[in-house]
């Protein structure tokens, strides 16, 4: 199984070396693809120096556009699975095998690494946890999918999901919407427990004041999902 790790990174030159070293130690078989989302620091040079494939976006697209570039690369280069992992070092690469396992066994098309399934570790601030619970409830209500950590950026996608996400991927705050998109497209979504850490350097892309905007925007996106009769088509062709 050829696996690509998609690492979206915006000014993560300080966090990348530790993440990539941990990757090499725990999952040496996985190809690394760092998507530099228009960084102003040495992100690209650091990633290239560490032997990762670097996709340098000429302009900042935001997390959704960056991640989708990785899925496009995975689709074009015939990968069987893609793992999404944040460039800020919050996700532990030692959980890669457990995130990939359901894909290998054919139990799921999209696997979400959840920090709320008893694996322990950093579980975000209380305010954000309330928001996450609300989004879980809303996703369940809207598309019948049971996910405890809908905002988790640690996830794996099989071939069908790669093709779907390369064609359509939400632009900003994409994580919960991508789950809904996958579910509505008839893909199997599953969660596995993972632990997360607090980021080492820099600040999160979602600030405290932005949490409310995040919730409103995502709720609206979920509310306005295409009707079930107009499900997104999954194409098996290489080019979307």
């Amino acid at each position: 199984m050829r696996v690509l790790a998609i690492i979206p990174a915006f000014n993560e030159a300080k966090n990348l070396p530790r993440l990539i070293q941990r990757f090499r130690a725990t999952a040496p078989q996985v190809d690394l693809c760092v998507v530099d989302d228009g960084s102003t620091d040495e992100t690209s040079a650091v990633a290239a120096g560490l032997g990762a494939t670097v996709l340098r976006l000429p302009s900042n697209l935001g997390i959704g556009g960056a991640v989708q570039t990785g899925y496009l690369w995975a689709l074009r280069h015939g990968y069987d699975a893609a793992i999404q992992i944040d460039g800020d070092g919050q996700h532990d690469p030692s959980f890669i095998s457990s995130v990939l396992a359901p894909l290998e066994q054919g139990d799921a098309d999209v696997v979400i690494g959840s920090r709320f399934l008893g694996a322990g570790g950093f579980q975000s601030t209380q305010l954000r946890r309330v928001g996450i619970r609300y989004l879980s409830w809303f996703l369940r209500l809207r598309c019948g999918v049971i996910v405890t950590d809908p905002t988790s950026g640690f996830r794996a996608a099989g071939k069908k999901a790669i093709a779907l996400f390369a064609g359509i991927y939400p632009a900003d705050y994409p994580e919960p919407e991508a789950i809904a998109l996958a579910k509505r497209s008839g893909l199997k979504v599953l969660e596995v427990p993972v632990t997360m850490e607090e980021r080492q350097h820099g600040t999160s892309s979602i600030k405290f004041t932005g949490t409310l905007y995040y919730l409103i925007k995502v709720s609206l996106a979920l509310l306005l999902l295409p009707a079930s009769g107009q499900r997104e088509m999954i194409s098996d062709s290489k080019d979307p």
């Binding site: 998507v35 494939t53 670097v54 996709l55 340098r56 976006l57 000429p58 302009s59 697209l61 556009g65 989708q68 570039t69 496009l72 690369w73 074009r76 280069h77 015939g78 632009a171």
Partner: protein, 130 residues
């Protein structure tokens, strides 16, 4: 017969302004600064406004049909519709362009990575991108 809804002098002024506006749009299209597809909405709605200005009695009909008490309020309603329609068409174009631009930026990044891989010394030693 009722009083004219728009006095003649105002009518001439309004038609002139609208004609100038249409002329400006035509000029921009002819100079290839404005695409015909994008300006079609402005074109057709401005022509509609011009028709209402030339035949102001149509305002009485519109206000009667929509149950608007004072015909002048129909002018405001139509003006909001005119601006709203053109703004929506602009937002629609903007959204389409954003999606297109996003894909172009992504393709740029992918091509750049493939080019870098081809240029690297490893590529000459038989390692190539798939």
């Amino acid at each position: 017969m009722n009083d004219p809804l728009i006095p003649f002098r105002l009518q001439v002024f309004a038609v002139s302004v609208l004609a100038l506006f249409l002329g400006w749009v035509v000029l921009l299209i002819r100079r290839r600064r404005l695409s015909l597809t994008e300006s079609l909405s402005w074109f057709l709605t401005t022509l509609a406004v011009m028709a209402v200005t030339v035949f102001p009695e149509s305002l009485r009909t519109i206000s009667h049909v929509l149950d608007i008490k004072i015909p002048v309020n129909a002018v405001f309603a139509l003006a909001f519709l005119y601006v709203g329609w053109n703004l929506l068409s602009l937002t629609l174009t903007n959204s389409t362009e954003t999606v297109r631009l996003r894909r172009v930026i992504q393709e740029c990044a992918i091509l750049r990575a493939e080019l870098d891989a081809l240029r690297s010394p490893d590529a000459n030693q038989g390692r190539s991108i798939r």
